[in-house]
Amino acid sequence: MENLLWLIPALPFAGALLLILFGRRMPRNLVAILGAGSVGISALITLLIGFQFLSARPDFYVQQVWTWFDVAGFTPGIAFHLDALSLVFVFVVTFVGFLIHVYSAGYMADEEDFARFFACMNLFVGSMLMLVLADNLLLLYLGWEGVGLCSYLLIGFWYKNPANGYAARKAFIITRVGDTAMAIGLFILFQTFGTLNIQAILSEAPQTWPIGSQMAVLVAFLLLGGAVGKSGQLPLQTWLPDAMAGPTPVSALIHAATMVTAGVYLIARTNVIFELAPAAMLAVAIIGAVTLLIAGCTALTQYDLKRVLAYSTISQIGYMFLALGVGAWSAGIFHFMIHAFFKALLFLCAGAIIIALHHEQDMRQMGGLRRALPVVFWTFLIGAASLAALPLVTAGFYSKDQILWYALAGERGNVWLYLAALVGAFITAIYTFRMVFITFYGEAKTHVSHPPGMVMVVPLIILAILSIVGGFIELPHNFAHLTLFSDLLQPVLPGIAVDETIGESEWMFQLLAAGVALVGVFLAYLFFYARRTAFEESIARSSLAMAIRQFWFSGWGFDKLYDTLFVRPFVYLANINKNDIIDSVYNGLAAFARSVNKGLSQTQSGIMRWYMMGVVVGAILILTISLLP
């Protein structure tokens, strides 16, 4: 069965290829079937292989399809490596991917470039699978860049609006900055180990580098650079909100569920190196913590439904980074999976709303949709609850609680990280329910014209179920103590040691987390559902609040900062040098020759006596030279 491994990425690729070549001539149904079907079969194969994997419990399956190239002992293969970690990712990618494909068939039904959309989506799924299944870092890099390309293509899907194109370009370039760091990391790894095979590196790294060695830290930071770029973390997060220019299923699949978590995958995949680099671990945790706060605050102020979700994604990935940073590997991955479910769900719901309201994305134009779109409302509510981590019933609670706990009690955790995460959880609850209240409650402002069809609703329901049920496979040890998920990951990701002194009081912190979430919901209710009191109003209207809101709204000014620091100087430099200053050196030489020519031409005056003078001068010069000693 594991021989079918190669089919998992190959099928979406094949679908993409067919769609690129013949898509324009195919009927729409066929396009949709081909697009969703190829991913669906991949999902099925994943299930089959997954069952076999779970029952046999090998450490991993490896399948080499061919040797990519072989130069001076550098022999990366087109080879797939399936272990528990990749299994989780493959599962999420294929299943969520399949659901979103199905959903898209409805969502994009009126689009002209139906085939192009599915081709890109399939290409994306294939690349993403390549990324998570790669057995060496170079192949991973292939997938890594491949998903970047698809992200570019899909953000700019509605290419006729130049702004979308620019957003797509921004996404590509900023992630490329991170990729560059990652590439340099690969160079070092190759130089040190003579291979880029992940397993080989991971097994040799501890022998080569002592803990905290400079090289390990350097490599870890470089890989982190790549991860940060892809996952929209500080300082390379600015592309992700703009990426919402793409169709909503794209946002759901690429910019929420899968691609943006590639950074998480990368760090988890190379956990051994990070374990060797405590400084990098700390950096991961801090980046995560800071990002989740900044993005959360920004999400509070946004009015574009998709932008709120985008910032929320950044923030949630911040949690994952935080988890990875404190060494809670499986907690991070767990949150990734749960996040994939509920965030995809939220995006798809948002998509349903947007299409229902004629591509209206501004929340201020929404309201009262609870009645008009009941299914969407309920599923959205489930997703929102999960995002806000409402205690006990939602999957989000279980995954986030774990992170909070390890941020404090893990051996690398500390109070500050915990506090950041806790505040983040609070903010999350507020902006999530702000969204719910503004969108679904209050009076209806826009008429619903396009209620979603079955194709769109079914994936919503399935994802909603997953957003609740998903959490029950991993429960805290003082509460049913179910560790299916972390057991699965055990061979790949090291467990985390807990500081025993705090360990006693875990329940207190769980309660605190739950309380914070509930308070957040309540606050959102106060501010955005109920009529505001004068006091609340005065807070909201105070100039300080306005300034903060403005600052947060702009994403903490990062765009402006980068604009002035990098983009403008680059464009300025490029533009003033458009005609290539070096060229003028050569033109100057030519001009010099011309002016000499002009001067010399004067000597050819046509007057005979002048010529004679020349002869005489020559004679004098010659005599001088020959007679001087």
């Binding site: 020759a593 010399l600 050819q604 046509g606 020349g614 002869v615 030279i625 020959s626």
Partner: protein, 484 residues
């Protein structure tokens, strides 16, 4: 004079006799065609006579002449070139209503003068050869007397040439006064025996360089060149560019090596300065020149500069390089001026750049030949000019004249600009309406055309397979051992 002397001087005697015969013929009846054929026959006769003595080891006709490999080679070169000029001349002069017969007499005499230069080993023969050449040239340059430019060119050349001859003669006199001999080898012996150089002697050499430099047209004695090239009829220009300069180069090599000039750094310094100045002045002056004949004049100034590089290298390789380069340069110049000759009409020579506009589309073969010639001047492979330049560089590098060699390279680059400028003009779109000029019967162009074809083929052949020529030069120069 012994029988052998006569045998060895036979090429020159044939030329002289031919000139007299022509003269007599003119007196009897003026027929352009017969004169033309006779002149060709005289050239062939001289060449046959030369072929007869090709395997000599240096033979001295005491005291004036020496016939060695260098001499034979240059005689052959000059005779062939002169023959080519003759062949090109017919169509050119036929369409002009002047008295054209005397032209051939003068041409033969000028050739004779150049031949004398090439084989002389004595001031007297040097002077005689030079003057026979010069005086014939005065008339040749001003031959088309109805053209005002012709007269201007003629008078300029006359006064300046006489002026520089005076320098040359005065220099000779000083050298003679000090050394007591007028034979080159005798001067060499004197120089090698005397410990200290006399001021008068140095002055003499310096003044001689003025005279020689004038004839070579190198800086700063080059200023006559463009005016004379422009004013003279195109075939005569070709003759000046080739035979007149080539004869002087041969003489310079002989004089310099026999008199032992390579031993004196001052002399080398003077020639180095002259070489570099000629390259730069020639090329820079040509840069924006709109008149093809002037452009070629400037180009020839710089080419003489290149030639001096190999001359300064001095050893056998250097002399070989000079000889080879002369051949390449002769072919190329003849070809280039030949094209000008062919394209010229009754009233004026085709010397304006705009006359060549779109030539590649109007007259593709002529244009192709001209392009080949220009590329050869620029030293691009597949042409003789490339091998020649390669030879020069090899000689320079071999003697490690790095300064000169680098200057040569820089100047080749500057030179490229104006050569390809002419080429670019030729493949530009032709002007919309161009009056087809009144031309002679095609038969008249047959000889000119076939001469040009032969020259073009020769150019490419030497460019691709220079073996034969190199072996010939190598073999002939065995009898001439250059001293350095």
């Amino acid at each position: 004079m012994s029988r052998n002397d006569l045998l060895y001087l036979m090429p020159l005697l044939v030329l002289a006799g031919g000139a007299i015969l022509n003269m007599l013929l003119v007196a009897v009846k003026r027929t352009h065609k017969i004169m033309y054929v006779l002149t060709i026959l005289v050239h062939i006769g001289a060449l046959l006579a030369l072929y007869n003595i090709k395997n000599i080891t240096a033979y001295t006709v005491y005291p004036l002449f020496i016939l060695d490999g260098l001499a034979v080679f240059n005689l052959g070169l000059i005779l062939l070139t002169s023959l080519a000029v003759t062949l090109l001349s017919y169509a050119y002069f036929e369409q002009r209503e002047e008295r054209k017969e005397e032209y051939y007499i003068l041409l033969l005499l000028a050739t004779l003068g150049a031949c004398v230069l090439v084989i002389s080993r004595h001031f007297a023969s040097f002077f005689l050869g030079l003057e026979v050449l010069s005086v014939s040239l005065y008339s040749l340059i001003a031959y088309l007397r109805t053209r005002e430019r012709s007269d201007e060119a003629g008078i300029k050349y006359l006064i300046l040439a006489a002026f520089s001859s005076a320098f040359l003669l005065f220099g000779m006199a000083l050298v003679y006064a000090v050394s007591g001999t007028m034979e080159f080898s005798g001067i060499g012996n004197y120089l090698s025996s005397s410990r200290e150089l006399d001021t008068l002697l140095l002055t003499g050499f310096g003044l001689m360089i003025v005279g020689i430099g004038f004839k070579l047209g190198v800086v700063p004695f080059h200023m006559w060149a463009p005016d004379v090239y422009q004013g003279a009829p195109a075939p005569v220009t070709a003759f000046i560019a080739t035979v007149s300069k080539g004869g002087m180069v041969a003489l310079l090599i002989r004089f310099f090596s026999q008199a032992g000039g390579y031993r004196y750094p001052d002399m080398l310094l003077i020639f180095t300065i002259i070489a570099i100045a000629s390259m730069f002045a020639g090329n820079l002056l040509a840069l924006r020149q709109k008149n093809i004949k002037r452009l070629l004049a400037y180009s020839s100034i710089s080419h003489l500069g290149y030639l001096l590089v190999a001359f300064l290298a001095g050893n056998k390789l250097g002399v070989e390089a000079v000889s080879f380069y002369l051949v390449a340069y002769f072919i190329t110049s003849l070809g280039a001026f030949g094209v000008v000759t062919i394209l010229s009409d009754k009233d004026r020579d085709a010397d304006k750049l705009r006359d060549y506009r779109g030539l590649l589309w109007r007259r593709p073969v002529t244009a192709a030949i001209f392009i080949a010639m220009l590329l050869s001047l620029a030293g691009i492979p597949l042409t003789a000019g490339f091998v020649g330049k390669f030879y020069l560089l090899a000689a320079g590098v071999n003697t490690q004249l790095w300064l000169l060699v680098v200057m040569l390279v820089i100047n080749s680059v500057i030179g490229l600009y104006y050569y390809i400028k002419v080429i670019a003009v030729m493949f530009a779109q032709p002007n919309a309406k161009r009056e087809p000029r009144k031309l002679l019967h095609p038969v008249f162009y047959l000889t000119s055309g076939s001469t040009m074809m032969v020259l073009a083929l020769l150019l490419v052949w030497v460019g691709i397979n220079p073996n034969g020529l190199m072996q010939l030069i190598h073999g002939l120069l065995d009898t001439f051992i250059a001293a350095r």
